[in-house]
Subunit: 585 residues, 2 copies
């Protein structure tokens, strides 16, 4: 077991105090476990449903503070395991009985307890010396959740109380501020407020519906990446979202990836299944006619829908969905082209990240796990060779990366581009994979300069990732205040009063004619309220129009970031905003 | 029974002669049926497999011509039905026995036979007076196919010989010429020759894969229609391609349309199904928040994948597929807006047709069949009202249409825009539907000026149809020689010899930089062969470059339609082709 850090010991001790407080306040409660976790701690309780609720938390917190002020010592005692087991049984502490029995199975001869005041708890420690070491202004109970005993849904549902804790009060304040910010930026919340996407119980969990405003963002991202890929020599394909199960048996998905796939559908005696990946489909295009070395590399790209089963509990907003659209591509190339092509993909990904304004990302070199025969194709020699090749390329590219075993694709190693979302959860945004396996399985070939049949290599890659997930990242990254080119509404015209509605409409039309996404706010509200509405919708430009503007054929520009920019001729404004869109600002 | 036309009688008589010829040549054959059909006739034979093959046809044709020259009379005789039945049984003519038994069941007392020379056949007639009336230069046996006795696959497979026949030799020649042309234009054949799409046995029948060249056409069509719809006030959505079965139970698809739907998939205890239509999905977006009369009409558009089961035998190229992408939209509007919106859709469809260069289309007003309770929602009052409304609108728009019963959607009447493909088969390209039913089923509402909840109407429509099918029409319409804006390759640079490859590459890059889809043909072939290759690929412009062009920074332009245009400065050519693309030429 790794040594506990000072802050972990503090958090663990707070978990102990939480249990002490709850037992003192609700004597009928039985204890589950209570560890330190990232940023804090929790403890589980078997307590009457509803007895503890969000309103109870401040009272429990108060009781914990009292215990801290009493500066109680953490006293450790040790007991022979059988004695402890008998005592627990006699007291009817069923959870403790289970825990001790497990320790016994693992060969423990003794168990340890920690006591503060009258409260004593089975615990391996370590703890602080005394509660006085805790800064009682630097912790906070945050929420209540249900949790099955030992995480098994066949067991009793316990009540879990979470807390956060730090060494200093300032750290707690910073943390809570950051949390509030994260909540404000949460793409699920902003998605609703800005009307970007909705869910429907009738359609199903994990199946988002993009509303017109969300659809604009998606369409801009799609056109951007398609045009950029075309510039870089990619060719587009449209392949079906389903195929015979046979195809995935040939590719190996059925053997290695079936748990993630949808159930098959029998149509006219033939089994079809929604695709979990695009690779076999694009390989079928490659294989549709003989290929010469002169044609390679062939870079097939597609915005491809893919279907993977997710645990229902894992589904979340646009980040984890039941069906997603991947900006996918498969580069089929000669072995001597792999390095150059891999480099090209890394450069494309870096360009995309820069364009999207994201710089907080890192690389993960995801490798095979030789022990996992179910997940990976059994070609140790090829695995070793390809991983060595990939490492060499990465080192040559001077890309910094972390190495992780057991995260490769079943057919080859991956370079994952990792992002952290606003709640701190890490996710793979894009991935670049070298595949030594599928070209062989599908017998892909090309004829070399000497007229011999040769086996090409394949690179699987994404450029802008899964569009749903990338949208979620962008919503959180920009807190909904998208750059102009991605903004669903780029400008809103706001007449100072009804009198200027006609002029406002004319301005809207002029902007629309120039393909600027423009709205009119001609509601009966006051100007102040209308401006506030526009700001809440995070529209880049509000264009206020009244008497003066009407006379001068101008608009008073209110910039989302810089505030009032004063009166600007309509033509000038159009020029300015079009240039920003052009420059993807 | 309708009276047979003169040409039908001629064709029927040829079918009789075909039977006579085959029986004379292959005495062990038994006869199936032999009617006149569009453009010709056929006859079925129970004959040893392979005995008749395409090489046999000219010999049979020759035999028929002999019979014609002998100017044989068609002699009609009548027999009491039981006598005829006994004779057929005695002779072991099992098919004839079945036919006579059926006539008997229908109450016939006698049956008729027609005889020419020694050949006599059960036949209701009518026939010509004598074979001399047939122009033996105006018919031709065309092909052999298998056909189950009485169309039932449980029965014996018979050999069917097809022929075409006309009154005059010129008509036959014209017909055969048109057939050859149709074959040349067949999108399945051109799709292969021009490498636009492929099929894969591993992926499945009816699931085309668009190759890079086909994908360009599709992408151009998509962007064209999306931009055009946006100009006309449509809003885009992205909704999932599957949903809970529950959604389609609510919409009524499950009750009225299940036979066309894919099988459902059970995921985590919930049944999902691939969508046959987009309407309920877009309605869920409408229903996601309260709507005011001021927001209407809302025009939700989407390039939506849809999944409908087709009979495996019906699947054909890009025309009938297992999954297709519809340029779909649903307009939700106030009842007083229906007429204006309907008109807007008709205008859009007309604009699309004009842009695509198609003028041979017509309108079909598809109405409900009151008797078919399974197919249509049972709301006779609403059916009558909406059909009357649609008729009024159509008459007002001065749109000429044919009326057909039993072709409506289950929720309302349709205006179908009909096209005929190159083989003469009629297909619905686009459709506009007025829906009185689904807004009620989904309880869609809006708040009117007085603050009262009201029920909107819905218009379901397609603008450019199903992209796969529209592509098929366009391939056949243009015989693969697409207008420049749709051409996968817009220009090909052809150096007169290897010496000018470097200059040719420079020209290619200059054009590519201006987003002109350009290829280089730097193969070792002769100039003549390279030009022929380019012509076969139906590339709009071949740009020949040699010494003179290199010096003058020009290209020698060879126009697909107009031939040699002589030398043109590169900049001038770029200007010209960009303007053509802009004008969608």
């Amino acid at each position: 077991m790794p040594q506990s850090s000072k802050i972990e010991i503090l958090r663990h001790s707070l978990s102990h105090l939480l249990a002490a407080a709850v037992l003192e306040m609700f004597s009928k409660s039985q204890l589950g476990v209570g560890p330190a976790i990232t940023d804090g701690f929790y403890h589980d309780f078997d307590i009457k449903n509803g007895e503890i609720n969000p309103e109870t938390l401040p009272r429990i917190e108060q009781k914990m503070k009292e215990l801290i002020k009493r500066n109680l010592l953490f006293k450790k005692t040790t007991q022979p395991i059988d004695k402890a087991l008998k005592e627990a049984k006699d007291k009817g502490l069923e959870y403790r009985v289970e825990l001790i029995e497990d320790l016994k199975k693992d060969g423990a001869k003794t168990v340890s307890f920690y006591q503060t005041g009258d409260f004593i708890n089975l615990c391996k420690g370590p703890h602080l010396k005394s509660t006085g070491e805790i800064n009682f202004k630097a912790f906070k109970l945050t929420k209540i959740a249900g949790a099955y005993w030992r995480g098994d849904e066949k067991n009793t549902m316990l009540t879990r109380i979470y807390g956060v804790a730090f060494a200093a009060e300032k750290e707690l304040k910073d943390y809570l501020k950051q949390q509030t910010e994260a909540e404000k930026r949460d793409h699920r919340k902003l998605g609703k407020e800005l009307d970007l996407f909705v869910f429907s119980d009738l359609v199903g969990k994990g199946l988002p519906l993009l509303t017109p405003k969300g659809a604009i963002i998606r369409q801009e991202l799609e056109r951007f990446i398609i045009d950029e890929e075309t510039k870089r020599g990619y060719l587009r394909t449209y392949t079906p979202d389903l195929a015979k199960v046979e195809l995935y048996k040939k590719s190996g998905h059925w053997q290695h990836y079936k748990d993630n796939m949808y159930p098959s559908m029998n149509i006219d005696g033939e089994d079809y299944v929604l695709r979990p990946m695009t690779c076999p489909h694009q390989f079928m295009i490659y294989a549709s006619r003989p290929r010469s070395y002169r044609e390679l590399p062939l870079r097939y790209a597609e915005i491809a829908k893919q279907y993977r089963k997710e645990q229902s509990g894992e589904l979340s907003g646009l980040i984890r969905v039941m069906a997603f659209s991947l900006a996918d591509a498969h580069i089929i190339c000669r072995p001597d082209q792999v390095e150059q092509e891999f480099k090209g993909v890394v450069e494309l990904v870096q360009y995309v990240m820069k364009t999207l304004g994201i710089d907080d990302y890192w690389y993960r070199f995801s490798k095979w796990n030789p022990e996992d025969k179910k997940k990976y194709v059994n070609k140790p020699k090829e695995w070793k060779e390809t991983q060595a090749q990939m490492k060499k390329i990465l080192d040559k590219l001077k890309v910094k990366y972390v190495e992780v075993e057991g995260e490769a694709a079943f057919y080859g190693p991956k370079l994952d581009i990792q992002l952290r979302n606003i709640n701190g959860k890490e996710d793979t945004a894009f991935t670049i994979q070298i595949d030594f396996d599928l070209p062989e399985k599908f017998d892909l070939t090309y004829v070399d300069e000497q007229g011999n049949k040769k086996r090409p290599m394949a690179i699987h890659r994404s450029s802008i990732g899964c569009l749903e997930r990338t949208m979620a990242f962008l919503i959180e990254h920009y807190a909904g205040a998208f750059p102009v080119w991605l903004s669903p509404v780029q400008a809103q015209v706001v007449p100072v009063s009804q009198k200027f509605n006609a002029y406002a409409k004319k301005v809207v039309q002029q902007l629309k004619d120039k393909n600027i996404r423009t709205e009119l706010n001609d509601s009966d509200e006051t100007l102040g309220k209308k401006i506030r509405q526009g700001e809440l919708q995070k529209i880049p430009y509000l264009l206020i129009v009244g008497e003066k503007e009407q006379k001068a054929k101008s608009v008073a520009v209110r910039d989302r970031k810089k505030g009032d920019l004063g009166p600007v001729k309509i033509d000038k404004f159009i020029e300015k905003i079009k240039e920003e869109v052009e420059r993807k600002q």
